[in-house]
């Protein structure tokens, strides 16, 4: 049996790869929105909304950075939230009687709907995959590592002598510095 593509033999699974793809997409879209907001507002008949688009761009960039980090879960959930806001904004544009580009807005909404579904799917998968401390919590209270009760093991290695280079810098009461040295006028070298 060829098991070279088993579930366990790669640490990156489909949902992780999808999260990365969404992360790069977020970064790209975010940069466009921040640098050239008119490229989006014009075809959607939403001129005047540039500051809002730029703010969305900043959000996308933050999501992108998060989605490319070691744990993308939160960032993909934020994307889901962002998608909802974007859909609401487009819906408003669609209802606007004076918008001359309603057709484009419809297309954008359909595309965004598809991305939202993808985000939602990815976020749910990641949620499970990255769940911190998930699964059963076993009882390790019998794993002492010692052959006898702990109290009888305390100091069992007291035959060990700390090497000179690893002794405590300041003397402990047990190894006190001894009596004070009385100053003398005699030269130490005699």
């Amino acid at each position: 049996m060829n098991r070279s593509h088993s579930y366990m033999s790669h640490s990156l699974h489909g949902s992780d790869r999808l999260a990365r793809g969404l992360g790069w997409f977020s970064l790209g879209l975010g940069l466009c929105q921040v640098l050239a907001p008119r490229k989006l507002t014009k075809p959607l008949g939403m001129e005047g909304f540039e500051p809002m688009v730029m703010a969305c761009g900043a959000r996308e960039i933050a999501c992108g950075i998060g989605a490319l980090s070691t744990n993308p879960t939160l960032a993909i959930w934020s994307r889901v939230g962002g998608d909802a806001l974007d859909l609401a904004a487009l819906a408003a544009a669609l209802r606007d009687k004076h918008n001359p580009k309603k057709e484009n807005v419809g297309v954008a909404m359909a595309a965004l709907g598809a991305v939202t579904a993808l985000d939602l799917y990815c976020a749910t998968k990641l949620q499970k995959r990255y769940a911190y401390q998930a699964g059963p919590t076993p009882d390790y209270s019998d794993r002492s590592g010692f052959p006898h009760p702990v109290d009888s093991m305390r100091g069992a290695a007291s035959d060990f002598e700390t090497p000179k280079d690893m002794r405590a810098a300041l003397p402990s009461p047990a190894k006190s510095p001894g009596p004070r040295v009385t100053p003398t006028t005699r030269s130490p070298i005699e």
């Binding site: 070691t70 590592g145 405590a168």
Partner: protein, 389 residues
């Protein structure tokens, strides 16, 4: 052969790679019987260690049988059963002769690059980036071991793989961390982190006779494992670390503090930890230092900070004023494995400790990549993963 290879952040793969060959007369080839995933492998997994290359074989905790030896290898022969220390040691340079095996001056073959980064480089390490020599790691079927006469620990056949495997890293690492504390029978030793190294710090501190051993973490099963080994557990999600330590030390603070966490410390509710996370993700600092700050703050004046936890580069906001005014000593370093290993083999053989207590998962090498996720997310009560090639 098959091996686990690094391909970027979160990306470890089970792959076919060329078999290792003897490259130097002092090399040996080991047929790996058991290997393990280490907490510090997670720093590679998260790509916090610079100078990794796609395709690098990871892993630095492994053991097995000698399959082939170079012409200059004198102390090993084919068929010998050995554990391999993660620090490669020549045994002849000035540092090796002092017992500072993790500072071997010869075993890092990328010394020029490492000297530029660190000022002066340390020893070569298996499977731990090109800064430490770019040596192929031990999560593989076979491994080339340089300076094989020195870089090995002979183990008796009466002990199982599970009992001796950790002599290559986490047991001596926990032991050295405790030894560096120069433990007195009146000492309170506090250990941050109840991961595998933290667990061995607890046992070592108990064996070395500390009056009180305290461990700080927030993963319940790890705390209970530490408690089984003789530690007083503090769950930082549930109680105040400072308050509890004051209570346990009659307001004087612990004499000895051990950081068994390292560069990825994170306490979600602590503001300095959030600050580190932000700075780290913006590449404005390499390492997160919450544990270091807390240790410096709680330690009794004149005490010792022992740092086996791995750091990679710059950290921010270290309270140097507290450190200096409290006359704290800092001891750190990668583990001088060989310096302790023979003594520790004897202690295992004498029945003072059985290191296999820490193993919670044992799977085939092929299933290793996904275990990185399980171990990282602390799922399924995962504390230590052993892999069988």
């Amino acid at each position: 052969m098959k091996a686990l290879c690094w391909h970027g952040k979160n990306d470890i793969r089970y792959e076919t790679v060329p078999d290792p060959e003897i490259e130097d007369p002092r090399d040996a080839i080991i047929n790996v019987s058991s290997c393990a995933i280490c907490g510090s492998d997670l720093h590679l997994f998260h790509h916090f260690m610079p100078s990794m290359k796609s395709g690098d074989i990871v892993g630095h905790e492994f053991m097995g049988e000698v399959m082939e030896v170079g012409s200059d290898v004198k102390k090993l022969k084919v068929g010998d059963r050995v554990v391999v220390p993660f620090t490669i040691t020549c045994g002849e340079c000035d540092q090796c002769r002092r017992g500072n095996f993790s500072l071997c001056e010869r075993s890092n073959r990328n010394k020029a690059m490492a000297d530029k980064v660190f000022g002066h480089a340390g020893a070569g390490l298996f499977g731990y980036s090109h800064l430490t020599g770019g040596y192929a790691g031990g999560q593989a079927e076979y491994v080339r071991v340089p300076f094989a006469d020195e870089t090995h620990i002979q183990v008796p056949d009466t002990l199982t793989d599970e009992q001796v495997l950790f002599l290559g890293d986490i047991f001596p690492t926990g032991w050295q961390a405790a030894v560096q504390c120069d433990i007195e029978p009146t000492d309170t030793v506090v250990i941050w982190g109840a991961g595998p190294v933290g667990q061995f710090c607890v046992r070592s501190a108990v064996l070395l006779g500390a009056q009180q051993v305290v461990v700080i973490d927030n993963v319940p099963e790890r705390l209970s494992m530490a408690q089984a080994g003789g530690a007083i557990p503090i769950n930082f999600d549930e109680e105040s670390v400072l308050g509890r330590l004051q209570e346990l030390t009659h307001g004087k603070g612990p004499e000895k503090c051990i950081d068994a966490v390292g560069l990825e410390s994170h306490v979600p509710r602590s503001p300095d930890s959030v600050y580190d996370r932000v700075k780290q993700s913006l590449w404005m600092e390499n390492d997160r230092a919450h544990v270091l700050r807390e240790m410096i703050y709680v330690c009794r004046p004149g005490g010792v900070l022992s740092i086996p936890g791995v750091y990679s580069g710059m950290v921010d906001k270290i309270p140097m004023g507290q450190l200096m005014n409290k006359a704290l000593s800092v001891r750190s370093g990668q583990t001088h494995v060989r310096r302790w290993s023979d003594d520790l083999v004897r202690r295992i053989d004498d029945g003072q400790i059985d290191p296999s207590f820490v193993i919670t998962h044992s799977v085939s090498l092929e299933d290793g990549p996904e275990m990185y996720n399980v171990f990282r997310n602390k799922q399924d009560g995962c504390v230590k993963v052993v892999l069988k090639p």
